[in-house]
């Protein structure tokens, strides 16, 4: 985060302003990505009028950064009506999309509406790998065509690549592709559990050896020695700090109006169909609980070697059963980075000592009494 943005976020935190919101417009999707955490059936999405009203409330509450995501946002027939309304309210808007429905006309309209950036999921530079993840033949070509349409309009495009077993070998290819297209790219080795708690998608995540390789790739992490160094012990300031911005300056609203601290933190704090956005933000007991947590309160983590630079996600910890506990996926990342198991990983591993024993007594040897 840039210095000025950090300063503004600190001010928003002091003032209790929800600086940044992700609003998912739909969970419906025209791709079926193997790692997706969503149920794509429509269980009663907010109407156009409800979403516009919500946007009015968000603007009034001080929300500045608005991410419109899904599901696939372009499946909503009222998408541009919603986007136009949001821009009239002068939100800074980022779109997350697979982009396969974006052609020249849509790209021009997005430009005219002053969207800040468009994040597009690309899993491989090879169609046979990307399309096998989205389960839609031809999807890579369509997404790449869309990136070109958007770029030709002068828009900022970011390729987002989730690293899994299926595309582990292809991240360099995706980065080269991004460079060729003149767009930014991000790489995330985190596969998240389904929102209903089903953890089967985690089997798609890369193993420790792959993570180690990733974290020792200088072109990805910069100075490898510094990146993989054992972090310093935490000072009092670090122990008193907040674990994450979720619920503090940021939050998430689902297509059904459910209000969570973050898209990865499915703790229902209220519903915007029943309460005003700002009332949930200010008064939700669940948000108050999230806001009360400091690093020193994290069980295990506060004593862990990695506490000062761990990527621990409170939402993933919550989905593991304890919002004050560790998130094992992040423990695994810390382990892959430094070679030192976290407190959480140590407690999970059975003691090796005396795990397998063979007792033998050669024939003819007297057994001591």
């Amino acid at each position: 985060m840039s210095g000025l943005m950090q300063e503004l976020s600190a001010k928003a935190l002091t003032l209790g302003v929800p600086m940044s919101v992700q609003l998912d417009l739909t969970y419906r999707c025209n791709e079926r990505c193997v790692h997706c955490y969503l149920d794509h059936d429509d269980h009663g999405e907010m109407t156009t009028a409800e979403i516009k009203h919500l946007l009015d409330e968000m603007a009034e509450a001080g929300v500045f950064m608005l991410t419109l995501s899904g599901g696939e946002i372009f499946l909503r027939k009222d998408f541009f009506e919603i986007l136009e309304h949001a821009r009239r309210l002068t939100f800074c808007i980022k779109l997350k999309t697979n982009a396969i429905m974006i052609h020249e006309r849509e790209a021009a309209r997005i430009r005219d509406l002053g969207v800040e950036s468009i994040q597009i999921s690309i899993y491989s530079h090879r169609p046979e790998v990307h399309d096998a993840i989205t389960l839609v033949p031809g999807s890579l070509k369509r997404s790449l065509d869309a990136i070109r349409f958007l770029k030709s309009q002068g828009l900022k495009v970011i390729i987002a690549n989730v690293l899994m077993v299926q595309n582990m070998q292809d991240y360099e290819g995706v980065r080269a592709l991004a460079e060729e297209l003149g767009v930014e790219s991000t790489l995330d080795p985190t596969v998240t559990p389904m929102m209903d708690g089903d953890r089967s998608t985690l089997n798609l995540g890369v193993d420790n050896a792959a993570l180690q390789g990733l974290f020792r790739n200088e072109s990805l992490v910069g100075d490898v020695e510094e990146f993989c160094a054992v972090p310093p012990r935490p000072g009092e300031d670090e122990l008193q700090s907040l674990p994450c911005s979720a619920g503090h300056t940021a939050c998430y609203v689902s297509p059904y109006g459910d209000f969570y601290p973050c898209v990865q933190f499915p703790l229902t704090c209220g519903n915007v169909r029943q309460q005003r956005f700002v009332d949930i933000w200010r008064n939700s007991e669940q948000l108050k609980e999230v806001r009360s947590i400091r690093v020193k309160d994290l069980s295990g983590c506060s004593q862990c070697t990695h506490v000062t630079n761990c990527t621990r996600c409170p939402g993933l910890a919550y989905m593991e059963g304890n919002m004050r506990g560790p998130s094992t996926q992040d423990c695994e990342k810390s382990y892959a980075r430094t070679g030192i198991p976290s407190v959480n990983l140590q407690s999970k591993k059975p003691s090796v000592k005396n795990l397998i024993q063979i007792r033998m007594q050669p024939a003819g040897v007297a057994v001591p009494a």
């Binding site: 939100f91 800074c92 800040e116």
Partner: protein
Amino acid sequence: MSKLYVARNTRVAARNLDGEMMIMSGKDSTLFTLNKTATIIWQSADGATPLDEIVERRICPEYEVDPAAAMQDAETLARELAAHGILDVSENPITPANSQPANSQPANPPAGESR
């Protein structure tokens, strides 16, 4: 002396945070913050009110300031914001039809953050 009209560019993102405006340029995603005085000018920049009138009616009554100096500062600010594509400046009233799209501004502002 000719009048100067100012209008908020419709392609930027903006929000008031405790009296200070946060603005994200639609041209290059540069983030700006305006102090309280600059925020008053930004909020008054409707394309129809000349800048000297904004300074006279909105700035001078609020602050102990020489009107000529205030006008000079306001014009400098307006031109700087115009160079970044976040404010449109013209010697004629600005309507939505004749306002400039943010990424067609000719100026070449410095990269990075501004205040």
